[in-house]
Structures are given as structure tokens and as C-alpha cells.
């Protein structure tokens, strides 16, 4: 048995029991669990092959050609193979641009999902939807971060995993968080030298993180973390206690200026890799009407969900890092939990039959989440990198809106980020606020002396990704859509025309 590879919109079914968005660890695990239970499953993914970002190109890579990726990456191989062996419909290269929850106006009580595949839009329905949309990197707005030659650390890792390519030196890695050190050691193992790591983590955080140390001591990530730190410290030029950063260059990166307690320094660079931790990708959940909640420890909004993945929207479930950052192993388990929950809610499996299994899986997930709080607190971003003090720093990369313009607009008294957006277009470009939403919320909270939870974030609407008007226009015109546009019942309209002809 092998999954059906769907490459055209026409070959999708009109209806599935379960529709999964994202083929990373959570999405693949959900597909495995649900197809085993006999459900008709479709899994949509933007990328050309399964694995998500963490297991990028896992189906094609072999350890002999990419020895520098490390054992945690190769753990994805078995999962991807199991996923390939399911009878799910697998749809790579698909863009999901809209999602409507079950409710009024939706026929048959299903969720309706708008997708674009190969230049053709299609609406498909499902009894349940699992959002396994993963994480994005937290925006790190510093002067010069829009210059060509600046990548996110995640991007450099994706390039390494997917194509065996490395940034041109000299390389500066700047920011904080475990991924920055992991990437540095992977690049070292790949033979890269000439790296400087500018660590922006706040030394004062170490004390606060100590409270969570006991959890970290039994974390499956403990040994890995210590090994990475030791290796990086031996072989890479590391500068700690960074207070501010600016990337310099006219049309390309030329260097990085940084400030420590010792003063200002500049280091030359051809490539700069930025990282400030990861946050859930919430755009689709938010546009589908799922309630969001503020996570104070991880300093991010995430879809409000219960222990088994139910959101506030009927029929919509979340799993993996898109539900709150927990890492790949926890994501895999949460994908299975969400699949079981969804299938028992739609009646594919009996509720009483899965109680024990759900309990075991939740216990397993707790084990993988041990030590997470220690890392979250230790690597919490410094204020300067959440709310840039330099007014010239670009906050919204798409519309080129600066921190100064955002602060000026806030002073005019808009009630929240949505009104601010209409004042200055911040967040209205093609990325739909993915690269500025957290910064706008943080700046507004800072200016008003309140917490981001009081400020909220952009209200998102479909399409959550740009889709061509021609594609939308070619969608079948349902009676309800014709009624909405013409204000007349299409059936009556037709009759009237006929009568006119007879006259």
C-alpha cells in the first residue's frame, strides 16, 4: 500500500472524513493514525515532499550524503516511511487559502477548505480538519534585516537539509535559542569555518530559568543541548551579552555592528543568520475563527485548545508546534491525539474504545515536554529585539513600515493592531502580518504599559495566502454565492429570463 499522490485539483475527492493541513511530524502522525482507523484522509502540504521543516527532504536524504544533520533528524525517516505506506491522499505543492468551520451557511455541517493546486482553485469538504501548520521563526526586527544576504537560521538549516548548501562566509549567526547552536554545529560538521555567533540571550534570565532546571535535567534534550554548547564553544567565535545589533551594507550584507558592555564593535560578514526562537503559525487557525490565547512563557499567541487538540471552532483541531511550541517528538504524539479525538467525535471510532489510548499518549507527550519551560525562560528574547528602539528599523517588511511610524500611529490612539493596520498599512502586504504581527503587538503593549494579551493581534481573514482572481472566478458558482452577489435567487432569476424571452 502507498499513499495516492494527488497533483491536480480535479483528482481530489469532494469530501473526506479528515483533512490535515501540513505534512510535518504532527500531520504525518495524524494521517497514519486516522488511516489505520479506516478514515478517508487527505493531507495537504505546501512543500514538494513530506517532512515539514524539521524533517525536510527526509524521504530523499541518506546519512552518507548528509552526515552533518545528526541523529534527531534521521528519527524522521521511520515516520515518513510509515506515512508513505498509508492510503491517505497526499497533496504536495498545495496552498490552503480559506477555511470555514462547521456552522450556519455551511452545507451538511462539514468544514469547507479552499485550496489552490497547480494554478486551479477548488473547495473541498471534510467532517473534521486538523491544523498541523507548524512554527515560524519569531520576527527579529533589527536595522538592516531586509538586506539580501540575511536569512533566518531556519532558512539556512532548510538549505542544508534540502540541498546540501551552506551560506557563504564570513557568516554571522545572531540571536538566541537552541536552534542557533544546533545550526552552528551542523555547519561546523559540514566543514564551514569562519563563523561568529553573537548571542543575544539575557544573562539575567539564568536565575529565572533555574526554577525550571529539575524538569530539564530529565529532558530527552538535555544531553543533546550540553553537547551542542560544548562543541560550539570549542570551535566557534562566540560573543555573549549582546545588547543591540545592526546589519550594515548598501545593497548587500557587509557586516554586523553590535554593542556589549565593552562598547561597539563591527564584524564583517557575507551572510547573516538571525534567530529569536520559534512561534506557532496561527494565520489559518485565526482566519477560520479559532479563538487565540496569549502564552506568557513563550511570548506568543496560539490557538486556544484543550489537551486533545479541540479548538473553539467546531470540527477544527490543532496539533504540533502550530498549537504551541513543543518540538518534533511532542508534535508527533499530539498529531496522533488530535486524529483519535477527531475520529471519535465524528463517530468513525467509538469514544469508549480510545480512552486508554489517549491517556497513554498524553502521558508520553508530557515526557517529551519536560524541560521545555527551562529553555523557554532561558532563551526568552530581550526587549530590544522584540521592540526595536531605533525608529528607522523596518517592522513590516512588505509595506516597509518602520518602528517610528508604528509608534507615531499608536500615539494617535487606535484601539488595537487592526485599526493601526488601516492607519499605516502595517501588516497589509503579501505576508499578511506573519513577519510583523508579534512586533506590532509588543510595541503597542510597551507604549501603553500593558501586557500583549490586552492588546491582541491582527484579525485575519481569508484568503490567508494570495490567490489569483482568475482562480476564484473559475470556482463553481453555488446558488448561495450567486444570491450573495446578485441579491436574487438564481432559480427565480432563470425563470424570469425565460419568461422575458417568451414575450
Amino acid at each position: 500500500m502507498s499513499h495516492r499522490h494527488v497533483s491536480t485539483a480535479d483528482s481530489l475527492l469532494a469530501f473526506y472524513d479528515l483533512l490535515i493541513i501540513g505534512a510535518g511530524p504532527a500531520g504525518m502522525a495524524a494521517a497514519i493514525e486516522a488511516t489505520r482507523a479506516g478514515a478517508r484522509v487527505v493531507i495537504l502540504d505546501e512543500n514538494p515532499r513530506p517532512g515539514g521543516q524539521i524533517y525536510r527532504e527526509i524521504t530523499r536524504n541518506v546519512p552518507a550524503h548528509r552526515p552533518y544533520l545528526g541523529p534527531d533528524y534521521w528519527k524522521g525517516k521511520a515516520l515518513a516511511e510509515a506515512f508513505t505506506g498509508t492510503n491517505a491522499d497526499y497533496v504536495p505543492g498545495a496552498t490552503v487559502w480559506s477555511m470555514e468551520s462547521q456552522g450556519e451557511g455551511v452545507e451538511k455541517g462539514n468544514c469547507v477548505v479552499g485550496i489552490s493546486l497547480g494554478g486551479v482553485a477548488r473547495m473541498i469538504e471534510a467532517s473534521a480538519v486538523i491544523l498541523a501548520t507548524g512554527a515560524i521563526e519569531r520576527p527579529m526586527p533589527i536595522p538592516g534585516w531586509t538586506l539580501p544576504g540575511v536569512l533566518t537560521a531556519g532558512a539556512a538549516q532548510i538549505a542544508l537539509k534540502s540541498a546540501g548548501v551552506v551560506p557563504q562566509g564570513p557568516i554571522v549567526l545572531a540571536g538566541c535559542g537552541p536552534l542557533l547552536y544546533l545550526l552552528a554545529t551542523q555547519l561546523l560538521d559540514a566543514g564551514v569555518s569562519n563563523m561568529t555567533l553573537l548571542d543575544t540571550s539575557d544573562p539575567n534570565r539564568r536565575l529565572a530559568a533555574l526554577r525550571h532546571l529539575p524538569g530539564f535535567l530529565v529532558s530527552p534534550y538535555l544531553l543533546k543541548g550540553l553537547t551542542l554548547l560544548l562543541k560550539a564553544k570549542r570551535s566557534i567565535h562566540i560573543v555573549s551579552g549582546i545588547r543591540s545589533l545592526a546589519i550594515v551594507g548598501k545593497e548587500d550584507v557587509e557586516g554586523v555592528r553590535f554593542t556589549t558592555a565593552r562598547g561597539h564593535e563591527t564584524v564583517s560578514a557575507n551572510s547573516v543568520l538571525l534567530h529569536q526562537g520559534v512561534i506557532p503559525a496561527i494565520n489559518l487557525a485565526s482566519a477560520a475563527g479559532c479563538a487565540l490565547k496569549w502564552n506568557e512563557v513563550q511570548r506568543t499567541f496560539q490557538p486556544a485548545s484543550d489537551e486533545v487538540g479541540c479548538t473553539s471552532a467546531r470540527g477544527i483541531y490543532v496539533a504540533g508546534d502550530g498549537a504551541g511550541i513543543g518540538g518534533a517528538l511532542a508534535a508527533e504524539v499530539s498529531g496522533r491525539i488530535a486524529a483519535i479525538t477527531a475520529l471519535s467525535n465524528i463517530g468513525t471510532v467509538a469514544q469508549h474504545a480510545v480512552v486508554g489510548k489517549l491517556k497513554r499518549l498524553r502521558h508520553e507527550r508530557r515526557r517529551y515536554l519536560r524541560g521545555r519551560a527551562f529553555l523557554d525562560v532561558l532563551y526568552a528574547p530581550q526587549q530590544e529585539f522584540l521592540t526595536p528602539s531605533d525608529p528607522q528599523t523596518i517592522v513590516c517588511r512588505c509595506e516597509e513600515i518602520t518602528a517610528g511610524q508604528v509608534r507615531d500611529a499608536i500615539a494617535l490612539g487606535p484601539p488595537g493592531p487592526n485599526q493601526l493596520k488601516t492607519f499605516i498599512r502595517c501588516g497589509m502586504g503579501p505576508c499578511q502580518g506573519r513577519l510583523c504581527a508579534t512586533t506590532v503587538t509588543e510595541i503597542m503593549a510597551g507604549e501603553r504599559g500593558t501586557n500583549p494579551s490586552e492588546i491582541g493581534t491582527y484579525r485575519l481573514r481569508s484568503p490567508v495566502k494570495p490567490v489569483r482572481l482568475a482562480e476564484l472566478a473559475r470556482l463553481p458558482h453555488r446558488p448561495s454565492a450567486l444570491m450573495a452577489v446578485t441579491g436574487r435567487d438564481p432559480v427565480d432569476h432563470h425563470t424570469t429570463n425565460k419568461e422575458t424571452h417568451h414575450d
Binding site: E46, H65, I136, T146, P148, I158, C431
Partner: protein, 107 residues
């Protein structure tokens, strides 16, 4: 700019702004461009600043290019292919202007 750790095994031939380039089959177009030495893929529609791929995972929309005549494709989400004709995007595209009818209409 990105450097390859291994030589090309299964080369794909494409062009960027008319310049012939090579990549490894299976590469995304964004990685293919960076590895071919292309840092600037577009200029913004607002200030005209140069931009290049940034996130490589479909989030930032910095790598928008015109592929085989279709504008605003995310280069990080599509695979490079033989004979792909890729163009940089220089600022905001202009709409074809209506022909002046000689009546002095300003609307």
C-alpha cells in the same frame, strides 16, 4: 549566497533574467538562485530596495519572482525545472494605461 558542498549530479538548466544557470534537480527555485550566486531577486514596490530570499519556507514572500510569465510566484515553494524562464520583479508592476481619447478626459 549559498555554496554547494557537493558537485551537481543531476543538473537542471534554467535562466534568470536571461542568464543561463544550473541547479540540482529537486532544489527549490529559491535555493537554486542563491546557490547560483543570485542574491537580489526583486526590488520592492515601495522604496525600490533590493530583496532576496529570507525564510525559505513560504512565510515571508521576499522571494517573489516571475516564472514562465506568471508573476509573484514564491520561489521557495516551487521546484526548479529545465527551461524554466525566471525573471526578477522590479518594483510594482504598472497596469496598461487607457488610450487618451483626445477629449481631455481626466477621469
Amino acid at each position: 549566497m549559498l555554496n554547494r558542498l557537493r558537485d551537481l549530479r543531476d543538473p537542471v538548466h534554467f535562466s534568470f533574467d536571461g542568464v543561463p544557470m544550473q541547479a540540482e534537480r529537486g532544489d527549490t527555485l529559491a535555493v537554486a538562485l542563491l546557490a547560483a550566486g543570485v542574491n537580489h531577486v526583486r526590488r520592492t514596490g515601495i522604496s525600490g530596495a533590493a530583496r532576496g530570499p529570507y525564510c525559505l519556507m513560504g512565510v515571508c514572500f521576499e522571494c517573489l519572482v516571475t516564472v514562465d510569465g506568471v508573476q509573484n510566484r514564491q520561489a521557495c515553494l516551487i521546484e526548479v525545472d529545465d527551461e524554466m524562464d525566471v525573471l526578477s520583479q522590479q518594483g510594482a508592476p504598472s497596469l496598461p494605461m487607457p488610450v487618451d481619447d483626445g477629449e481631455g478626459s481626466k477621469q
